[in-house]
């Protein structure tokens, strides 16, 4: 899409009138285009004014309910590095899908034994992992922005495979990293994965699955990190 076409989407974007594919494309562009970002700010401010004409007081009991709910929720800490801009612009929305997909997943990988395959034959890598013959292999799948992520895992063998299609790219110089998080809160690397230009990725990993109670996804510097950058895990799911 040309710059002219893209900036023409700012209005529809501000009204949430783009479909998922268009939104993903536009948000990716927004990260690098100050002109479009400025346009979106203005459009969004105008859209916010629309809510003047629909304003209506909520039911009184909602206030108490909201205030009661927040009492048991801790506000998240600020994000302290440049992953921030990624998180805000690409946002939870895209990744909520992955988080959902990961919800039931035991990707208990670690840095060792991790291989990444970027060819178009994901099944070869998965076959080789033994996941297809393990008796307890489970699979989950979910939408991630315009694409999908499917994860196979086996607690008995400790093997995990992630197959993604049309996943959004991480910021330049960054990679996604999976983490297994134990009940005590210790995060263990579950390997890095970077979708190719088509958003496709297949990764297969081996690790301990047994200790993990949650899984997280973070954005880390290329090559991955020994432990998650503070605040960089943007999706976690119980497994």
């Amino acid at each position: 899409m040309s710059q002219h076409e893209l900036i023409g989407l700012a209005g529809a974007y501000a009204l949430d009138a783009l479909d998922a594919d268009e939104r993903a494309v536009f948000e990716q562009h927004l990260r690098d285009c100050a002109e479009c970002a400025e346009e979106v700010r203005g459009m969004r401010a105008a859209a916010a004014e629309l809510s003047q004409v629909s304003a209506v007081a909520p039911p009184p009991e909602l206030r108490a309910s909201v205030l009661n709910e927040i009492r048991s929720v801790r506000p998240l800490p600020p994000v302290t590095d440049n992953v921030l801009s990624f998180r805000r612009s690409r946002s939870g929305r895209v990744w909520q899908g992955l988080a959902a997909a990961c919800a039931l997943i035991a990707i208990a990988t670690s840095a060792w034994g991790f291989q990444q395959h970027r060819d178009n034959r994901p099944t070869d890598a998965i076959s080789a992992s033994g996941l297809l013959s393990a008796t307890d292999t489970a699979a989950v799948s979910g939408a991630v922005g315009p694409g999908t992520a499917t994860i196979l895992y086996s607690r008995s063998s400790g093997k995990v495979a992630l197959v993604g299609h049309k996943l959004p790219a991480p910021p330049s110089g960054k990679t996604y990293q999976l983490w297994m998080i134990s009940a005590s809160g210790t995060a263990t690397s579950a390997g890095v994965f970077t979708p190719d230009t088509g958003g496709n990725v297949t990764s297969v990993a081996t690790s301990q699955v047994a200790d993990a109670v949650r899984m997280g996804v973070s954005v880390e510097p290329a090559g991955g990190s020994a432990e998650p950058t503070p605040g960089a895990i943007f999706a976690t799911m119980n497994i």
């Binding site: 809510s51 304003a55 209506v56 909602l62 205030l67």
Partner: protein, 200 residues
Amino acid sequence: MTHMRFERASSARGTPADPGSSLEELLASSAKGDEKAFAELYDQTSSRVYGMVLRVLRDPAQAAEVTQDVYLEVWRQSARFDSSRGAVLSWLLMIGHRRAVDRVRSAQSSINRDTRYTVLNTERAYDETSEQVQAGLEAQRVRKVLNDLTEAQREAVSLAYFGGYTHSEVAELLHIPLGTVKTRIRDGLIRMRDALGVPT
């Protein structure tokens, strides 16, 4: 931001942490766990958020549920608000609108879209019933600006914002090319932005 006064007037409940605080200050205090500040933030903004969500969803029970989710999310994310990307109220409304739109779109696969369009068409999305409208100078000002849009612009903007339709769906509903819808939405919003002098 003068329109906040309008919201304040509509919600006299509660014990304001500091009635003079801006939304940004209230949000910053909320990030540190200040529940009173958050209550004040709620009081100042909830009629805007709830009203918009209600307009999109049309079901008060669902609108209350979504509004509650929005405020929980705002509380959780309060330290991560980025003022360079827009005002606090815009941010709240963006979160709310996305959630409302997500809900209608996911519910939609199981219902007939034509039904929704009939409802919208009959009621004219922008021509709201008076009991749902808070009186207020700011609202009147926005209404006037909306009335100054062309009929075509107003329709496209309203179907997208209050109807929750994608621009492709708006094009189909109105039997016009997608490019025309994009232009109408864009021109309509630019006109609103300029007429209202909204900070960008």
